[in-house]
Structures are given as C-alpha cells and as structure tokens.
Amino acid sequence: MRTTGRPPLAVASRRATRRGVASPGFRRARTPADAALLLIGACFVLPLLWLVFASLDTTAGYQTQLPASASLDNFAAVLTPDLLLGPLWNSLLLSAGTATVTLAAAVLAAYPLSRFQSRFNRPFMYSILCGTCLPITAIMVPVYGLFVQLRLLDSLPATVLFLAATSLPMAIWMTKNFMDAVPVSLEEAAWVDGASGLTALRSVVLPLMRQGLGVVFIFVFIQTWGNFFVPFILLLSPSKQPASVSIFSFFGQHGAVAYGQLAAFSILYSVPVLVLYVLVARGAGGSFALSGAMKG
C-alpha cells in the first residue's frame, strides 16, 4: 500500500542511524506504542468475538462463551434457499446493479468534466460535493412519497436507480480524479485520427484507468451490500428483500431469537464484502482511494 510508505532501504537505514544518534529513547518508544495499539485492537475485536463463537454454538445467547461443542449446525441451518440464498441473490442484484449504473453514469459525466473546460464545470462539481453531504436518512420520507406517487414501491430496478443516485456524487468525484491522472496527450492522437470523444474514451482512457474503475465499482458495491435503511423502506415483499433486511426473520414473534443462526447468517452475509475490501486494499490501496476521492 502506498500510504504505509515502505521507505526505500537507503532512507530506512539513514533514519535508523539518525535515530540512534539523536535519541536513544526512540527505539524504546516502540514497545509502549505496540502495547497501546494491541490494547486498542483488543477492544475492537471483542464485540466481534460473540459473532464468531455464537455462530458455532447451537445453544448460543448474547453471552460470549466458547461453544461447549463446536458445530457447523447453525451454518447448515441457514444455508437454505429461503433463509440465505434468496436474500443473498437479491443483495447481489441490488449491489451489482447499483454499482454498474453508478459507474456508467459516473464515467460519462466525468469525461467532459475532466477533458473540456467549461464554465459549468466548477459549479457542477461543487453542487455535487453538496450532494455528498446530504444525509440520506433525511430524504427517505420524501423518497418514499415519490415512489408511492410513481408507483415504484417494491420495484427492484427503481431501488437500484435510487441507490445509484445516492452513490453518484462520491463516484463522480472519484472517477474524475482517476481520469485526470490519464494524460490528455494520449487521446490527442486518437482525435487526430478522427475518433470522436466517446470513441477515445472507450479505446484509450478507460483501459488506462481500469484499476480506478475497479475501486469505484467495489466501493459502491460494498456500500450497497451493507445498506439497510433504503431497501427496508422501499422494498416490501419478502421475496425481493436483500440480506440486510431479511436478517430480521431470525427474530421470532415473541422475543425468541435464534442467536446462533443469526450469527452464522451475519458471517456468511459479511464474507463477500470482506473479500472485496481486501481486494481493494491490496490492489489499489484503501486510503489511496480515499485520497483520490478527497482531492479538491
């Protein structure tokens, strides 16, 4: 990763000698830092332990305990089309659809913004920035009203379009920054050959920013996969609900909760985004993508 900054060997050794000369205490300072970090890390892991232990325990409650007899029964119990596979499929449709629509719209929008000077550019980019600041929870009431009026309630495609709109501001910023990094001179050759702007975009620019496009796609995908509130409001029939909403089926009518199954379901539901996140972090750098989004 770029930001962890593995320094070149020469710099590292220079630093080591300087440290040795300037402050013998620097080396000792590592152990307290390690200890403090590990303590903080433990606090962050603790709430997750319950999830792991309970998923293996058929008699789980809210207590964190090593399961008396570890078994995969909970996983087997939730691995049914009704409980897990259907909702996961819906999550996949929702996330892949949203990420595709968002990426397509963002690439198209970013191209003229990145390539052509226009007096609309700056106002447009700043209004987009305001859009990223909009608390989505605040507009769910009017969006619900809009969906009722347009008779779009309980429609998967309409929900995808709304989710795409909410992730567009951030996606346009990121895509434009990635596109700005591709030198214009490469397209000029294509223009001279008579290619139109969009042809140059497809054959020259996009292949060069493949990695950036991957980052944007996965970012939107992860965001949508974890989104609870939007599908909770806009999708009504159980057969269309994604895993984030159907998870409530583990809460019985009278406070009976299948804790072990809930935990197993949560883990299976989380695995895809954990894997995708690792891909982004390895490939292009998690914080690299963040800084890409935040450059002005």
Binding site: T3, W50, C133, P135, A138, A165, I247
Partner: protein, 293 residues
C-alpha cells in the same frame, strides 16, 4: 460559425445528462418535496394522504412546542460531537500516530481489527454492538470477571452505549485518513525538530498537526456528516428508547413519518436535518475553496 462552435461545445456536455437526471429526480426533487411537504398535513394513510392541505408553518410551530424535538436536537448534537468529532476523530488520530511508531506486524493486525468493524454491513455491526452491550453481553461478562458490577447499558445508559458503538464502528475511516496524511508528512522536518530538542508533544502540536491541517478539516466534516445520518445502529440497539432517551433526529423523523404516518410532521424534522447537513456541506466547500488559494 461562432454559433455552431457554441452548439458543439454544449453537445460535449451531453454525457453528463444521465447523471444529472438521476441526481435531479432522486436527490434534488426529494429535497424540494421535503420542504414543500413540511408545510402540509400530508399523511401516510387516510384522507390527508390523498389531499394534503397547506398548513403553513404549523408543523414547525408544533416542533418547537413538542418536547421530543429539542431533546432530539440535543441528543443528535451529543451523538455527533461525542462519537464523531471527539471519539472517532481523536481515536483515529491516536491509532494512526501509534502506527507510525509501532512494529509493522502489530500495526497491520490492529489496523485489520479496526477496519473489520467498519467494513461489516451496518446491520451486522449493529447486532454485534447490541450483543456486546446487552444485559448478559460481553461487556458485563468482562466487568463481572474484573469484579465490577455491570449495568443494563441499553436501558440505563442508552446514549453511552450508542456513542461507544459508533466510535467502534466508525473510527477506521479517520484512521485511514490520518494514516495517509501522516505518511505524507516529510520526515526531515520532525527529525530536525527532534534534533533541536523538541519534545513529543511539541512536535505534535507545532509541526505535525499544522501540516495535516487540511486532512483534519476534511475528516471532521465527513465524519460529522456521516454520523448525522446514522440510523440503523441506534434503531437496532435501542430503537430510540427507552422513552426517547436515545432518539436522534433521523430516528424521530422515521418514527413520526412511518410509525405514526404523519408525513408532514416527519418531513419537517427531516428538513431540519437537511438544513443542518447543507450548512456543514457549504462550510466544507468553503474550506476546500479556501485551501486552493
């Protein structure tokens, strides 16, 4: 000739149209509709659902006399300041700072643990936090083992529980931002200060913090806005209760609009939230513009 060039220039903006349409239909229109509906008695069901009547500022007057509203504003501010501005921001900076000093495997492992809470789908994180703070949960087990008496956190101290849970969930973002920022701080400067005998605190306050000033501003703004919109975490952990003790503005708006079906009143609350977000957003844009100069 000149006219044709202008037309061609405007045609270049054509690819922006799909994005603009999506943003207008699904973000701009709902915001405007929200402000409009907040001046009516629109409802989810019944007569007012079909023909909502214009009631002027009635909803806002009701807001001011509703004891739940000022309480929700206060709780929202407490939630944002305690969990985002203080909690996530400072803890993120602390972790990032410690990482520059700690051994590499240690910071890799701890970084993963912090990020895990952030990458998990929000509903899963919310359940994990609920289990952690519940009466027989992990926290009370730990306290019991240490000989201390636990409490029924979600009932006795709901705000403490949701604030801590949100710190747990969101700190990774600040940590990533500050790790990137600290990596860009030139080593030479702080090493020179070290040679001049500056203490750790002095180096932090006079060198590092001023150098990462713009990252701090950006991060503060983003975590503030993200936290302003938090709904799922609070809703799963306490549902705003007991008796509104953890009802922030998003929870209150949801309850009024969807539980009680009072769309007009719910949108009035949502409008207050949008204005809050826009105020922060405009401040953020100004900050960035100022940076450019």
């Amino acid at each position: 000739m000149a006219e044709r060039r202008t037309v061609r220039r405007q045609l270049r903006l054509l690819p922006v149209v799909p994005s603009v349409l999506l943003l207008l239909l699904f973000l701009a229109a709902p915001v405007l509709w929200s402000f409009h509906a907040s001046f009516t008695n629109a409802a989810l069901t019944g007569r007012n659902a079909r023909n909502p009547a214009w009631t002027g500022v009635e909803n806002y007057v009701r807001l001011l006399s509703d004891p739940a509203f000022p309480a929700a504003v206060l709780l929202t501010i407490v939630f944002v300041v305690a969990s985002a501005v203080v909690g996530q921001n400072l803890l993120g900076l602390l972790i990032a700072g410690l990482m520059t000093r700690a051994r590499k495997p240690v910071s890799a492992v701890v970084g993963t643990a912090v990020v895990a809470a952030w990458v998990l789908p929000e509903i899963v994180a919310a359940f994990a936090a609920y289990a952690y703070f519940s009466k027989d949960g992990t926290l009370n087990q730990l306290l019991g083992n240490a000989g201390a008496a636990g409490a029924d956190w979600l009932y006795a101290y709901p705000m403490v529980a949701v604030v801590l849970a949100n710190i747990w969930r969101g700190t990774a973002f600040s940590m990533l931002v500050y790790r990137a920022a600290l990596a860009d701080v030139p080593r030479d400067i702080s090493e020179a200060a070290l040679m001049d005998g500056a203490s750790g605190w002095q180096r932090l306050v006079f060198i590092t913090l001023p150098l990462i000033r713009s990252s701090i501003a950006t991060n503060l703004m983003l975590v503030t806005l993200q936290t302003l919109a938090v709904f799922t975490l609070i809703w799963v952990m306490t549902a705003g209760g007991p008796s509104n003790a953890s009802t922030t503005l998003p929870v209150l708006a949801y309850q009024e609009a969807f539980k009680f079906g009072d769309i007009g009143y719910g949108t009035a609350i949502a409008s207050v939230l949008i204005v809050l977000g826009l105020v922060f957003g405009i401040g953020y844009v100004r900050l960035l513009k100022g940076d450019k100069r």
